[in-house]
Every structure is written in structure tokens, then in C-alpha cells.
Symmetry: C2
């Protein structure tokens, strides 16, 4: 199963038998609105805090994925989830609602693919028959926690990104119909010394490149193996850096294959600066848009590399640089 | 491998080929001082913040575990770790130092056994040959983040617990000498509606009981199977509740078998109120004291149930109750 240094090849090819993507009002105006199962016009989701609203998004994504598979939550053995809130409260409170055995994970915005990689490992190793993998983020909850409350009206530089309000969930099983998870590459922490939390794409790009290169090396394949290679949330700034770094290292990926979830989710006229970000970005784009494209026959083999900036506001205040990580999952149909 | 609803039986019996426990000055005065590899007299560990001091503890535990096995960090495929800091920065910054592929996890104080369970799963499923599992906490960093800076001198009720300043790490392998991980039970989130962050033992006791019962049920064994059953950090208050709840449900565990890491680590005359707590509590007691007792032949079969209170200061302020979880790992020699 371990292939090369850091890649798992799943011989049983765990199946994503259902998935769901839920978003907020800004995502409803975005480029991928049709790929969401639910889009909320109220950024509060009827709750009295943004954190509780995020929990609602995640609960809805999880419950939708389960019901789309015509299953009950009692049939699912494990719930694996992570998010950006301190102590991953969106995930833990959703785990309380679901009542399933819960494996909490944290990889910042890489959580979406960390949870899918772990879920696939559990299925492949017969540690479970059904595992629900999920991740979420909420724009205003994240701004409040990591930067400033949005009411403050702080300005941002063009390198900043817009955290997606959304949650995505995938139900992974031993057998069934649907796209299959064929391998996963677990990333190392890469820190090039960048310190600007308004330029996460630049900080995360080298981590994405490190994981992509490890994936190709471990599996002895090249970019042409995939129809689409999508990083998580590098945005426009990080995407250019990642493309150039890969080319410099001899892994030039044609622009029609290489993209970024943060560049796909919003329309060009939405004021998102360098693009989308947050756990909910890769999660909703993958579990909604990309899997839909696979089911339509437009894509057969994709590699999703979710990137995460592992800073906290406190590590930033203590003048630490931003450690970054990326986890890659390959999905084939 | 999946046995019953939520337990993994590891047929290959992954081996803990080495482990390490590192503590601070208060642990040096504790009941288990002799079981630590390193005890620091300086609670700052020469750093300029308590968060950086916690990272140093964790780095030292990890590096010690690796060197005790006469290995290099390059030989270890994955590092799995969690802690109580926001965005688990102790673990992520340690992962940056170690340079290994990193799987970040979060289960509050249950992180110690969540990481050991996942590490054992990776070994058993041949997803790795060597995995380092770890967890840490730092008393003053935790007080500052979850309650008040210690300089404030806030008083605490007798139900409160003392967060351990310490880190523990275990190196898990396919083959070798040492105690073996035979099974793990992943817990559900249990929330009985308790809201007092100064009485975590009471909040977590039902989660511990739920996981212990699931473990016995899934494996069709009873408490007499084990020489020692140790919960993580219920402390004296939570331990009584857990004992009574188990007895009420027909699982009476004799007091000479049933204990709690938070009751073991400090001496009776240390002012720790209801006992020790924190990820570092179960981690140091297990990877130091309990494994040492196994190697001495005093214990042959133990079950460690690490408990976690999954609240954040923000969920508390928003009047949420405290969701709790417990993950159990059985170790045999």
C-alpha cells in the first residue's frame, strides 16, 4: 500500500458513493453555483453566530451526502472532518449531531483532502465499510478569528483571498457506483519563511509543488496521467508561482490541465482579490463541481492537492513564518 | 480489521519500538518523575513564549523517541500529532522541524490515543513501516488560551484540573521489540449538557464510559481481560463518576485495575485540585510510566482511554455545552 516515500495506493479503489456541497450567498453568485446541492441566501443560516452558521453548513453537507446514498447515519462507521475554527468546533459539534465515531483532523485548508485520504485508507484497509469525509469554512467566522471582524471594514491587498462560505462531504465505501479514490500523497510541512497572512497563495505554493512532485515520483507517473490537476486554494498569485516552480523542476503542466479550486469557484467580476480559499473551497469544488464533471464523463482522472497554511494568529504575532502543507488525492472514474 | 461497530483489531500487532516522555518543573516534583526521559527546570525551556516552549517539549519527545530506536527521522514515514493550541501549532511547527509527511489530528486531550490509534492503523494496513505518534500540552500556554494568563492569579474550584506541561511520543513499527498495539476503539462525541470548563472530568466521564463499553462490546471481552484500564484525564472527580456509571451499566471494574493518568502523575501534596489533564498527561504517563511498567513485566495488557473536551473558549462564550470524546488503545506485551 505504501508506495515510494509518502504515497498510498489504494488497491481496492474506495468509491465516493455520494457527495454534497453547500454554500452561502456569495457562492450562489459564483461560477459554480449549479454544482451546489444547497445555496443559502442568509449568511447566518438562521443562527445567532457565524460559527453556528458554519456548523449548520457542515451538518447539511453531511446529512445530504448520507441521504443521497439512501443511507442512514447509523450505517456509517466513522466521520472524519476538519475546519479552520479554533479546536475545529464546526467539525466536533457536527460530530455531536451525527453521533458517529469521530476522527478529528487538522491541516488548515488541506483538511478537505486529509480527511478524504484518511477515509480512503480506512476503507482500503477494511477498517470501515462506510466513512464520511468532510470539511467546512465560513467567510465571516474566519475573518473574525484570523484577521478582523468584517464590520471593521479592513482593506486588503490584491494578494489576499476570499474564504469560501461552504461545506463539502463525501461518503466513501468499499463498493458501489461513483468516482474511485486510487491514491493519496501525504505532504510534508514546507516553510519558505514567508510571513504575510495576506499572501497565503505565495506561502502555500512551494508546499503544493513539494506534494505534487512527491506524487509523481512515488507513482512514477507524469502530469499527462491526469485530465485535471487542481490545487486547493493557491489563488491566482500562488498558482503562477506553483506553475513556475514546477516548470523549473522539469514538471511543466499544461495550463489546460493545471488549475486551482480558488480560481474556479467565483466569477471574474466578484471582488475576491486573488481568489477563493478556506477548507470549504476545495471541499465544495471537489465534492460538487469536479465530481459532477467526472460523472458527466468530462473528466476521467483528476488529482486534487489541497493546500493548508498552518499558522495561527498567535504564531503570527510571535513573528513566526507560515508553515504550509498540501495533501493530494487522485480520483478516477 | 473492523470488529463490531467502532473497534479496529490490529492482526499484525504493531510494535511501539521506542517512546519518550518529556516534562516540566512541576512534573519533576510529581509521582512519576523517574519515568520521564527529560525534565526541564525552566518552564520557558529557554524560549521567549510558552507556546514555543511547548513546541520544544514536543520536538524533544519526538527526537528522543527516534534516537532511542537508533533511527533517523528520514527512516520514519509519517508524523501524527495533535495538541490543544489553536490550529495545533505545537504539532505543525514540530512537523516543520522534523520534515516528515505530517497528519495533523485534533481530539483535545484524546489526541494522544487518537494519534496512536491512527499510527497503528497505518502500520497494520501497510501504509507505513514506521510512524511517529505524539501529543503535547503546556500548562501556562493552555491557561492563557483557554482561561486566564496565570499572572492574573485567578482562583479555581476543586473540580478544576492542572494541565500537564509535557510531551510524549511513540515510534510504531511493523516489527521489533516492545509493547504491541492490539486494538483501538474510536469514540463518539458525547455531550450530557455540562457547561462548566472548570469541571472537565465530569463532562468527559460519560464519553470515557461510552468508549470503554463499546470496546468491551465490540471485542466481546470484559474488564478482567486487562491488568490496567487507565482513562486519560478524568481526574478524581471524573473518575468517581466514570466508575459509578460503569458499575450502573454492569461493567464494574475493580479499583486496583481502574485508574486515571491524571490521578497518577502528581503527588498528593501537589496543589493540582482534581488532578492532571491536557494532551501531555495521557501522552507522558502512557509513553513513560505505563510502557516502563510493561517492560518491567508488571503489566501485560493495558487499555488506555484518552478523553477529550472538545470545547473552544468561543463555543463556551456562545453558551454551548461541552462535547466530549474518548479514544481507547489496547497495548499488550
Amino acid at each position: 500500500m505504501l508506495t515510494g516515500h509518502q504515497t498510498w495506493v489504494f488497491n481496492s479503489k474506495p468509491v465516493i458513493i455520494s457527495s454534497a456541497a453547500v454554500g452561502g450567498p456569495f457562492e450562489a453568485k459564483g461560477a459554480l453555483a449549479e454544482d451546489f446541492d444547497y445555496l443559502h441566501q442568509d449568511v447566518w443560516l438562521g443562527q445567532d453566530s457565524f460559527e453556528k452558521a458554519e456548523k449548520k453548513l457542515l451538518e447539511q453537507a453531511c446529512e445530504t451526502a448520507i441521504s443521497k446514498a439512501n443511507m442512514k447515519k447509523e450505517d456509517v462507521q466513522f466521520f472524519i472532518s476538519g475546519d479552520l475554527m479554533n479546536q475545529i468546533i464546526s467539525s466536533t459539534f457536527t460530530a455531536r449531531t451525527l453521533g458517529m465515531p469521530f476522527i478529528g483532523i487538522f491541516g488548515a485548508c488541506s483538511s478537505s483532502m486529509e480527511s478524504l485520504a484518511m477515509a480512503s485508507l480506512l476503507i482500503d484497509s477494511k477498517a470501515a465499510k462506510y466513512v464520511l469525509a468532510a470539511a467546512s469554512s465560513h467567510n465571516i467566522a474566519v475573518e473574525k478569528q484570523f484577521r478582523y471582524p468584517t464590520e471593521y471594514g479592513a482593506q486588503k491587498p490584491p494578494t489576499a483571498q476570499w474564504t469560501v462560505t461552504g461545506a463539502g462531504a463525501g461518503l466513501v465505501a468499499e463498493t458501489g457506483d461513483g468516482p474511485r479514490v486510487t491514491s493519496a500523497t501525504i505532504g510534508r510541512v514546507i516553510d519558505m519563511g514567508l510571513t504575510d497572512p495576506y499572501n497565503m497563495g505565495s506561502a502555500m505554493a512551494p508546499a503544493a509543488v513539494d506534494t505534487i512532485e512527491a506524487h509523481f515520483r512515488d507513482l512514477n507517473i507524469d502530469p499527462s496521467y491526469y485530465d485535471l490537476i487542481a490545487t486547493g486554494d493557491l489563488g491566482r498569485v500562488g498558482h503562477i508561482i506553483a506553475s513556475k516552480l514546477l516548470a523549473k523542476h522539469g514538471h511543466e503542466i499544461p495550463p489546460e490541465i493545471f488549475t486551482d479550486c480558488g480560481m474556479l469557484i467565483y466569477k471574474k467580476d466578484q471582488p475576491v482579490m486573488a481568489g477563493g480559499s478556506g477548507c470549504g473551497c476545495t471541499a465544495t469544488v471537489t465534492y460538487g463541481h469536479l465530481l459532477n464533471r467526472m460523472k458527466k464523463g468530462e473528466l476521467k482522472k483528476i488529482l486534487v492537492i489541497a493546500t493548508g497554511a498552518l499558522l495561527s494568529p498567535l504564531s503570527y504575532q510571535q513573528k513566526e513564518s507560515i508553515p504550509c502543507i498540501a495533501h493530494a488525492v487522485s480520483i478516477e472514474i
